[in-house]
């Protein structure tokens, strides 16, 4: 029964056109970025950086390098928006449309309904991140050769991730980073989902979740909160970048994963508790 219900929720989500907006946006932005990489002087700058550090530049300006570079703006801007758009819709849209009342005239518990909806969101997040990674790889391969991977990502606080590796190793880390990105996407969705369980419009739930994220970014960037940065959710979102660090800080990544798992569970419990208590009216 649970899997039938989960399948129903997936059918509802993937039956909607707006679910695919995120996929479309990724596709468009990736191709625009690829055009910029191909025809701007970005390649020259990267070659200088590599050669300055003793690497053969032509070996590392590749599919994997470009695919990782393309991830950064998409993860910062597009992913939160599209994941939270879906997360904000999950409960609030059904309440707004009136279909929630029809579902809740059936013998299904509210917690079970929420669990299937949340799992649907988790599956969506995982698919979106997988599609993001696969599309980046596919389109980058169309324009660049399959060679070694070079990563150069400056982090807040002066730290820089700099690494160069073979194509095989790079692909392994690229896949691993997408697992962490899926956890990030899932956490963003859980935040929007939590607000969606309250009596509000779907857009309001999305905006509140985005505001929460924005607030976290702002607070993390203020020197005043330097000692408190571990409490900022966006600080832990950055663990995907640490996969490329040499050596990989496994303990730090595990800590961030635990924090994000906690945020997911907390968001679900808060949302489910309020949803259980509220009256569902037309």
């Amino acid at each position: 029964m649970f899997f039938l219900q989960l399948r129903s929720e997936l059918a509802k989500l993937f039956g909607k056109k707006r679910t695919y907006i995120g996929f479309g946006a990724f596709l468009l932005s990736q191709n625009l970025m690829l055009l910029a990489f191909r025809y701007s002087n970005w390649q020259n700058g990267t070659a200088r950086l590599l050669e300055g550090n003793g690497y053969v530049a032509t070996e590392f300006i590749s599919t994997l390098t470009v695919a990782v570079l393309m991830l950064i703006p998409q993860i910062l801007l597009l992913m939160p928006l599209y994941v939270m758009l879906v997360g904000g819709d999950l409960v609030a849209k059904e309440a707004e449309d009136g279909t929630l009342r029809m579902i809740l005239s059936r013998p299904i518990s509210r917690v079970r309904l929420l669990l299937t909806k949340w799992l649907t969101g988790v599956i969506f997040s995982a698919i979106l991140v997988t599609a993001l990674g696969a599309m980046a790889l596919f389109f980058a391969r169309c324009w660049f050769e399959w060679k070694g991977m070079f990563v150069f990502i400056p982090l807040p606080g002066g730290q820089t991730i700099f690494n160069a590796m073979s194509a095989g190793e790079g692909l392994k880390y690229y896949a691993l980073t997408h697992v962490l990105l899926a956890v990030n996407a899932c956490t963003m969705l859980s935040l929007a989902f939590m607000f969606s369980c309250f009596n509000m419009k779907p857009a309001a739930a999305t905006i509140l979740a985005l505001s929460f994220l924005f607030l976290s970014v702002v607070m993390e960037g203020m020197p005043f909160f330097e000692d408190w940065k571990e409490f900022a959710i966006t600080h832990h979102f950055r663990s995907w970048v640490l996969v490329f660090a040499k050596p990989m800080p496994i303990a730090q990544i595990a800590e961030s994963l635990c924090v994000l798992a906690g945020v997911n569970a907390t968001a679900f419990v808060i949302g489910a508790t309020h949803f259980h208590m509220r009256d569902i009216k037309s």
Binding site: L104, R106, P107, K281
Partner: protein, 307 residues
């Protein structure tokens, strides 16, 4: 099938429903009447476990909905005013999805229900292409899917044209005759309730002001149309002699228990008041309802003035 005990709901400081006691027996079509905001939908919401009661309990199919919601609703179907579906999916897919919230439903059952409601041939069309009447039929189909024993219909004819209302009425009658369902019908279409229901309850401002059979409703008072030269003077005299208990619209009088019309005529003639016309007035559900609402308003005003 339904038993409500002292059911109350308070939203903030406003009581939407107050001390509602109600019993709906197996096999009957029970009408829940009341104006908009009278508390009908709140009561239905509490029967379906969608609205938490502030006080009291709602027993559906023998189970307390607040405690054992899943068991209580296992054999219950419901339709709400303005049926809404996932418009971007087909009627069939909608039914499939909604059935999964109750129990796994074989495709044969869905096909049978679609035939029963008369949607065969259109079930694979997107719901966005359905007319209002077709959506209502689909709503009925989703309510019938779990093979219910109790059907809760919250203003099912809302938004339908006269032909659609007629069709819905026939369907409700068929549901009771062919499937033996117990039906709770909430409506403000008095004509519809009059033609369908065996018993009714009337809500006004969250309180039950009447519960009984339609015959009870029509016979709460024996009204007589009286035409005399001076209605006020005549009724004052009749009231002082306890022949009548009430008057209405300066043309109707309610006879006291055991009093017949001939006694009225004799008394008025003896008082030298000519009687031009006297006849029994047939009470309709509409007149009963309107008077009930008027009485409720009057008593509310009186209690406010008393305070």
């Amino acid at each position: 099938m339904i038993r409500l005990r002292q059911l109350s709901k308070c939203f903030g400081t406003r009581w939407a429903l107050r001390d509602l006691d109600l019993t709906v027996s197996r096999g009957e079509i029970f009408g829940l009447l009341g104006h908009n905001g009278a508390g009908k939908s709140t009561a239905i919401g509490m029967m379906l476990g969608q609205v938490w009661p502030t006080e009291g309990e709602a027993l559906v199919c023998g189970y307390d909905v607040s405690v054992e919601r899943q068991r209580a609703l296992l054999k219950v179907g419901a339709i709400f005013e303005t049926p809404v579906f996932y418009d971007y999916l087909s009627g069939w897919k909608n039914l499939q999805i909604l059935s999964h919230y109750t129990a796994p439903t074989p495709p044969e059952r869905i096909k049978k229900i679609i035939e029963w409601v008369g949607l065969t041939g259109r079930e694979h069309d997107k719901v966005s292409k359905y007319s209002h009447g077709m959506r209502t039929r689909l709503a009925l189909a989703q309510a019938l899917l779990p093979d219910p024993e109790l059907l809760i219909l919250d203003e099912p004819s809302d938004g339908l044209d006269p032909e659609g209302i007629h069709e819905m009425r026939l369907t409700i009658q068929r549901l009771q005759k062919e499937l033996g369902l117990t039906i709770l019908l909430s409506s403000h279409l008095l004509n519809e309730v009059e033609q369908l229901c065996t018993r009714i309850a009337v809500l006004n401002q969250g309180k039950k002001v009447f519960e009984g059979t339609l015959a009870d409703a029509k016979q709460t008072k024996q009204w007589v149309r009286l035409k005399v030269a001076d209605f006020a003077k005549a009724t004052a005299s009749l009231q002082s002699e306890r022949f009548i208990t009430d008057t209405r619209n300066a043309s109707l009088v309610a006879l006291a228990d055991g009093v017949k019309t001939d006694a009225l005529v004799r008394h008025l003639v003896a008082m030298d008041m000519p009687v031009y016309e006297i006849a029994q007035e047939e009470e309709t559900l509409e007149s009963f309802y309107l008077n009930l609402m008027q009485d409720s308003r009057n008593s509310a005003k009186a209690s406010t003035a008393g305070h």
